[in-house]
Symmetry: D2
């Protein structure tokens, strides 16, 4: 005999562009939404009974319909609205989990000034949030950033590690340190809005990365997490995942040349991978 | 005050091609390995002390050195060897987690016969396994398949679902059902080897998908999981994730044509998403 | 003063799934179509006059409408139908260029037999064709294959090349030779249909690759092209592009191990790249 | 009898990071280089004679060795150096073609100021150049930009086009116009350096896109090309390719809502595609 242990379902990659037309400028947002529902869906799996199934096509329609009426101007508020709407209309749903990611469009700069109705997609970096709520509980909001690609050319060393018969890596007090940060932080209580906190947290991450005397990826990851927790009381914990995107120093001595930390080969694979979650004591 | 709550680190995307040269033919395997270690690494994060850090570069070397000596001819055995090796040599490591994925190379068929030393990369499908072991425990092996792209043109319906003000999807008793299956099953005790069980499990998944009278993705997902658990006693549970890769029937009536379930637009986004874990009672 | 020198426009990535429902089995085809038109469009560019512009949205509709009525069962015939249709209905168009690519769906094999209505996407390989015709000329059909990923573990050497101060590559009489072939051949006159010739040409490419004693990628590329031209009179020329997807022999001597051509690191970048066109004299 | 009609070969995706360490800041460049050589290589193809073959591995070494000595601080100068070096050292080469693309790294901004040694990868946009030279000729330099992703929310219409039985697209005087520009311009004679001209050309493209009252993609493409040619005498022609990355207005009337050009679905496929080359008369 077998049984259903866990399940969830929903709609992924619902893409949305929203334009707000102000007198002096337009605002442009591009969001990608994922909806996942938990609930009493067992009869669908075991008996083919769809009577408790909200079609994923309807979820897609819901995103667009709500977006039209929504006053949310950050992804966190829109995610919370979607959670509330789906729970209120679907008694068979026990918990809803909405993830929204935003890709960055900036006003084009012409002669140093932003053009009011023209936009440039500035970056591959994504701003993200996941709002989850069980029917009987409070909403949990985890916001983050994906693919924040950064590199520092000073202040990074890696020495003092374990050496064994399989070690070939030389120690260095001066290396390039490149990564693509994925950060996810949990909001607790506080007075500031998510829209206010996001740029502040992003800059705290960047500043710690920039100013840290790094002895390892782990060492700097912790400093970045600590900088956020030290300066933003609204954040209760933060998880960081940081691949070590290696830049290998090219051996030019074979050609009679030196290479004073100037010419590197960036490689995509293999890469180191470090992740940790840092909380308040 | 902040503290380190959780952490792990390792090396990703260590790629390996292994050739075995038999008298009458060669065997070719291409594996991609990920190593993740848990352990007593707190001083590295908080103090920049690398004395307990096995460099991820050494992990990479370990993969190649072990592969040369290994007699493993399936990814599960190689993953378990790597776990054992890393735990035995690194007392600071409390648990090791090794994931290996294999992409499929088949002997090229010429005039209906396999050529002994020429290979074709047959598919995007990946065979996967993750072996994990804490220092004091037994190894857990979860094997699976990624990106098994399948589609059925008969035996799939979707009716009887919730209708509300946001519903626009028409019911259908005859639709295309396409998906890209991700499956992960846990091995318990039994007499068969992983190498013997894998093709059997894959065919059980395919057969259930093919023969099921589907009332929904959920309904068929469950039938596929049940088919594996019913016929392979070595599997203790199975998790399936199945996006609904929609093929939309084109409305040709605008051009005075009918469309008797013949012409469809396949779309990548948005897509439905269903996942569940099925266990033994 | 500036002027329009060249232009073309059309629709890309029009995706289509077509199901033919026979009594004993279904056939499934997935095609992606690109339409490009040349013609008298200058006033559109210079004056914003759209009176000669067939909207790309209409081109998309055309693909679906024609697919419903078409009896084409290979991509070459469908491409030629589209060319003829567009030229006949649009006097402002001087030439049309249609590219169709097909991804491979095979009937799922269960207990050794093909299931009539269930399909597996077998490969990343694409079958392609481009049909072009100027209003006053004959159609030209160039068919091909993209991403035919193959590797041979015997019969490949690379020696006798130029050595200079920047050479570090060692010569070898026994290396792995992996590539992802892009082939494009032009059909001339002949009795066989494109549908008959395609599998024959593909096997001729594979056989030459497999059986050739390769002194370089160039050497084998030429043998593959020659094999097609020698055996298929309907092909007037063939172009092949073959990246050299290097597999680097791992130096295990650092760990006291030998490596008798057994353990390799496959790398995606950088890669060698060789292309040539071979014709009849 | 068959013969070699055309051929070229080289190395692709040679990646390079170069750090210049000034007293007050570091400069960081990331370049990807492709080398393609034409020449007297026929005996390699037909006879397996490698005596005139410069290995692609040596080309890779050449990139790194030259980069160490080079004073080039723009991709055009580095490409021209590579062309000259390869022609001077390889008499068997009749023409060399070097493509360099640069991805953008900007100094991280902290408290509004650029950090001297920390960088953010700002964009997916690539700056590109291809320098080609036959042994006996002058170098030709074509520079460009890839994947300049832009969108305008005002000043874009599409009306007055051909209507036929397959037309379903409604006319509009107010639509979103999004694209990912690929531009390639040819440098002729002039006093300014490529490094000076690039940002000027990029802004001329952006300004024309922003300020144009667009009747079609073609119409705006031409205005962008004209703006460059009118203001940069050093450019002799320019080619632009602009996919029409459609944003579809969502029909909310089904849910009793209006949609005053506010909520859109961006789609990746299918997409319109327009390309043209504009020259001086």
């Amino acid at each position: 005999m077998v049984k259903l242990a866990e399940n969830r379902y929903g709609k992924s990659r619902v893409r949305l562009v929203r334009v707000k037309r102000h007198a002096d400028r337009h605002d442009l947002r591009e969001w990608t939404v994922q909806i996942l529902l938990h609930g009493d869906f067992e009869s669908c799996f075991t008996d083919g009974d769809n009577s408790k199934i909200l079609p994923t096509d309807t979820m897609k329609n819901t995103v667009y319909s709500l977006a039209r009426n929504s006053s949310a101007d950050c992804i966190e508020d829109f995610a919370k609205e979607l959670v509330a709407f789906l729970l209120s209309r679907n008694p068979q749903v026990s918990a809803a989990e909405i993830t929204v990611s935003e890709c960055t469009w900036e006003h084009a700069t012409l002669s140093g000034k932003p053009h009011p109705t023209t936009f440039v997609q500035a970056s591959r970096e994504l701003q993200t949030t996941t709002a989850t709520r069980a029917r009987s509980g409070a909403a949990k909001v985890v916001s983050g950033v994906e693919n924040l690609v950064i590199l520092k050319t000073a202040g990074s060393a890696f020495t003092g590690y374990i050496k064994d018969a399989l070690t070939t890596l030389p120690e260095t007090r001066d290396r390039l340190f490149g990564t693509a940060v994925s950060a996810n932080w949990t909001y607790g209580v506080g007075d500031s809005t998510c829209a206010e906190l996001r740029p502040k947290i992003r800059e705290l991450l960047l500043r710690a990365f920039a100013e840290h005397q790094s002895e390892s990826v782990q060492h700097t990851l912790y400093a970045m997490a600590q900088n956020v927790l030290d300066h933003v009381s609204e954040v209760s914990d933060i998880q960081l995942a940081m691949p070590n995107k290696h830049c290998l120093l090219v051996d030019l001595s074979r050609f009679g040349q030196d290479n004073p930390n100037e010419i590197f080969v960036p490689i995509d694979e293999p890469h180191g991978y470090i992740e940790a979650r840092v909380t308040r004591e």
